[in-house]
Amino acid sequence: MSVTTYREAVRAAIREAMQKDERVFLMGEDVGHYGGCYAVSKGLLEEFGPERIRDTPLSESAFTGAGIAAAMAGMRPIVEVMTVNFSLLALDQIMNTAATIRHMSGGQFRCPVVIRMATGAGRQLAAQHSHSLEGWYAHIPGIRVLAPATLEDARGMLWTALDDPDPVLIFENALLYNMEGELADDAGAVDIDRAAIRREGHDITLLTYGGSLGKTLAAAEQLEGDGISAEVIDLRTLRPLDEGTILASVARTRRAIVVDEGWRTGSLAAEVSARIMEGAFWELDAPVGRVCSAEVPIPYAQHLEAAAIPQVPGIVAAARAAMGR
């Protein structure tokens, strides 16, 4: 075991992928000479050179599309988009090409591209750098959507994603990059199909992913002090959802709260809630609750920003309400 950060775990994953497979290269804005917008790729240019640590112009559509097509022609690109907000400039390529090409070509073409980007609020970067739109991407058939919330997943999801024959989007909550903890020295690839039970409990299931996992675990600790035993599920893969793990947990606890940094309307939380209703309605002792971001563009001022996104007291309150306390 060694102490590492989420940032270092992602970097180690990229380095290992590039060492293992000549076809892997990293492409994006400031990934090379600058050292990475979030310093994830710091040092990799020196190690692998400018062909494989490829700085791009500020042109999300072209370089994302180029990554998608390079994957179709035998490469294994990792495309880094600085934030999910900027990925909207590449949405045409992600949606109209990456997600559709396998089906539209009758199975003749596929693009095993991996597209990484930062998501989430909490750094006072205001509305155009702080949104959580991974739920939008989870709407789209033809792509896989991952949200690593732990050091193990930050280290291990990339390799599995690169092995996937289809496009995979990885959303890294920007607040997690500095997260520090112990990681096994031989930590390697992890599965990207299943949700994980991060904390076992029997009174209520708290379902979350990415940047809200830590807050949800903290809420579960508080609830324990109140005599409420909360199970915490980390969804990990937002598309396709691991319905089995979700429904099995809810069947045991009979209550559920979904915690999602996306906006409530049309959110991933809405989808998870509906799946529980469809699959476990008769097991429920209370309506499924949701803790989401306020329906507002994320503001700059710290107190307003904090109030806009899910926080521990809100999660605790929602869980207590579901328990009738």
């Binding site: 097509a69 022609a73 070509s105």
Partner: protein, 330 residues
Amino acid sequence: MTGAGTKVHLTREHGLALLAQMLRIRRFEERCAELYTQEKIRGFLHLYIGEEAVATGVMETLTPEDRIVATYREHGHALARGISMNAVMAEMYGKAAGCSRGRGGSMHLFDRETNFYGGNAIVGGGLPMAVGLALADRMQDRAALTCCFFGEGAAAEGEFHESMNLAALWKLPVLFVCENNLYAMGTRLDLSEAETDIAAKARGYAMPAEAVDGMDVVAVEAAARRLGTEIREGGGPRFLECRTYRFRAHSMFDPQLYRTKEEVEAWTERDPIARLRAWLEEVRYLHAGDLDRIEAETADEVEAAVAFAEAAEWEPVEDLMTDVGAEART
């Protein structure tokens, strides 16, 4: 029958082949228009009639390893590239034997065998794809080039700028072929572009670019061959603007209120097929019976394709969800 400054030695055999290819495309599409009115073919149908010289001339210069990126007006590109007419027609019908197994239709013809990457119905959407295919070839030391067809309407899209810049910056082996037919759907070039010289735009990215008479198949072929050679020699991307015209409406739903009959007639007089034919006659390459033979062979091929498509099976509805992603892991 040459564009200014180009010298092409055209044999009788090659001249007839160009004529036959353009006629194949035209007769195929004329039949498609009929089938559309009979509701055998549905969806959007964008005909290439009038523009055959571009796909025919450019495709002559490409190797089997080269990659093609096309637009939603791509029947001509698909046929000239060598996708079987049967597979293209079956795709028009939406049949399982179609080149995209009935999932793409007229606008999304694909064929792995011939490196044909569609069939992109988003104007400009194919440009980043061409950049990526060329990047992959360069990084894997392959000799192939990527040929990207697009209309002049795409020059108004941001992806045009981004892709030109990236291809030129990275010196990628891409031949950009702009099919300038003067109308972006129904909007005339000077109503949609501040700079109407499209080749001049490309030069703004430090990319050698030229314009050619797109109604002259020999001139198109000569220019594409020369630019292709420069690309293969490591010169980076090249840009070829082909000035052409579509004789038919943008799609089958288009009443063509935006252009005059006189204009259409004036361009029709420059019909690339009639021009090549006249030249072949003038130099005595076209012998008595040649044209009848080509027309008869083409008609047979088209009717065989219709019969093939008519008889082909529908993809079973049970297969609706196939090829959305890889089969689920266990």
